[in-house]
Amino acid sequence: MIAAHLPALQVVVPLILAPACMLVRLRDAAWGVALAASWASLAIAWLLLQQVLASGPISYHLGNWAPPIGIEYRVDELSAFVLLIVSGIGAVVMPFARESVRAEFGTRRVYMFYTCYLLCLTGLLGIAITGDAFNLFVFLEISSLSSYVLIAMGRNRRALTASYQYLVMGTIGATFYVIGIGLLYAETGTLNMADLASRIAEQPGSRSIGVAFGFIVIGLSLKLALFPLHLWLPNAYTYAPSMVSAFLAATATKVALYALLRMVYTVFESDLTLGLVPMYAMFLGLALFAMFAASTVAIFQNNLKRMLAYSSVAQIGYMILGLSYINVTGLTATIVHMFNHAMIKGGMFLALGCCMYRLGSVHIRDLAGLGRTMPLTAAALVAGGLGLIGVPLTAGFISKWYLVLGAIERGWWPVAVLIMLSSLLAVAYVWRMVEAMYFTPPPETVPEGMDTRLSMLIPTWVLIGASLYFGVQTELTVGVARDAATALLGMPR
């Protein structure tokens, strides 16, 4: 009975529990509620993925109104996979949050922090599950508004300006998306994604639809920080509280990318062959720029959070690169990398959260000798760094392997070479980190005790461990990603 309503519960559970956090007011109780909501979401996402794998896509009609009139929640392999990423990261980050938030945020009104976090989770899950284009906008704004608040809670006053900048750029992005949806609605009279796809197919070459496509792609690209629309991202991730950086870096851009995949491949799919192909040349070019420019900038950063933020921009470049191939292997790489990058970056930001907790800084100067003072945290940073480079036996390697494979399949040899060259840039910034942590003597005044609290180390290593595990065991990730990619491209299994 309840199983039939899992798609609705996926969104409703965190949404209802968000005000509950507000009501209990006690710091630990609010944390407990947020923790329970995150784990429940993960359980639901896991059940949904199993259901989808067993019996195909699920279509859930909210309030029993049949689509295309009513709002439809649609869970296929791709959305179930993204739901799993988002709720999985949420479930791992929450145990970490308790100490980290207490240290960075003080004790006043912590329950509001958890309320915002749950709203953000709701929005991100909603984007992944909805089958309605306007409903997607609403969830996009729920997640964005709450993430502006979360970012503004950073201790440094620059968190405020970072949040403001993100608010302005994010709102422009979302408004562009609404303009696009409006034009589509004017042209087709529907908002349901599947219905939109079939009606767009009926009017090939319509100029309004082309314009709508442009608005939607640019709006979502702003949200997912595609180079050169990434300007909000480095400051936002640098000055946000550690737990927020980890959560957003691992989920927010991925979910926006999911929305882009959904729009490009599900809604506009039939227009792929009708003169919009230059769009893919554009994606290809921007992706390559992102890979090189952002990685190069990352090398020169002294604040490690900022370094990882720029590295995120580069990694988003890899995901967009896979999208530009328009073949199953490329898309598989994109989808797998969404998962792998979430594990790697989430884990690394959590490790930096440990440094912030113990040392009060993530400046590369203050991390000198970390290999001796906080061996487990330092090891997590190195393992994550290897994943960013794409060393074999890490998850990053799997993504790059499929990216290169896809490029070769497409006959784009230079692109394959460029992917490997750009990995060398990642070697450079990861090496700077290793050098500071292992080859520089620790400062005289090191706080007493070994490493950091277990409640923070365990979540860090769960994510880093997952990134190593899925570097070897690729059955789940690549299997689901390949199914999702095949379905997106509308090919028979």
């Binding site: 306007f134 906008f137 609403v138 704004e141 508004l145 502006y148 608040v149 503004a152 006053r157 620059r158 405020l160 300006t161 949040s163 403001y164 608010l167 302005v168 709102t171 422009i172 979302a174 408004t175 609404v178 303009i179 409006g182 609605y185 004017a186």
Partner: protein, 122 residues
């Protein structure tokens, strides 16, 4: 000639939309004052509201009332969507203004360039 006049005058709502959209966008990009930026953002969003409402309007149509006397209705759906978008816009503005207040407390100014120069000092 009359075609041209029809295009220019008959679609005046859309011209207003484009004018407002560009005004708003320009203000967001060109102004350094954080409040003015938010005003620009609001104008930008308002232009989209006008766009949606214009789609939904049917000439001579009334509100969607079920009754003998009414036959032509305006499409209520875009209007409802825009109610949602207005709520989102209000929330964004409120949050933006709250941030500006906090920024003013932290920096003592709400001019973008002055904030930057303060941040650049070590």
């Amino acid at each position: 000639m009359s075609d041209l006049i029809n295009t220019v005058l008959g679609l005046y709502n859309y011209w207003i939309v484009i004018f407002l959209m560009m005004c708003g966008f320009y203000i967001v990009v060109a102004h350094d004052n954080l409040i003015k930026k938010l005003v620009g953002l609001n104008i930008f969003q308002a232009s989209v509201f006008v766009l949606y409402i214009t789609f939904g309007k049917v000439s001579g149509g009334t509100a969607p009332i079920l009754g003998e006397a009414f036959h032509v209705y305006s499409n209520p759906l875009p209007h409802v969507l825009i109610l949602t978008a207005i709520v989102v816009g209000v929330a964004t503005t409120a949050l933006g203004l709250a941030l500006v207040v906090r920024i003013n407390e932290a920096y003592g100014t709400i001019e973008d360039d002055e904030i930057h120069s303060q941040d650049d000092e070590p």
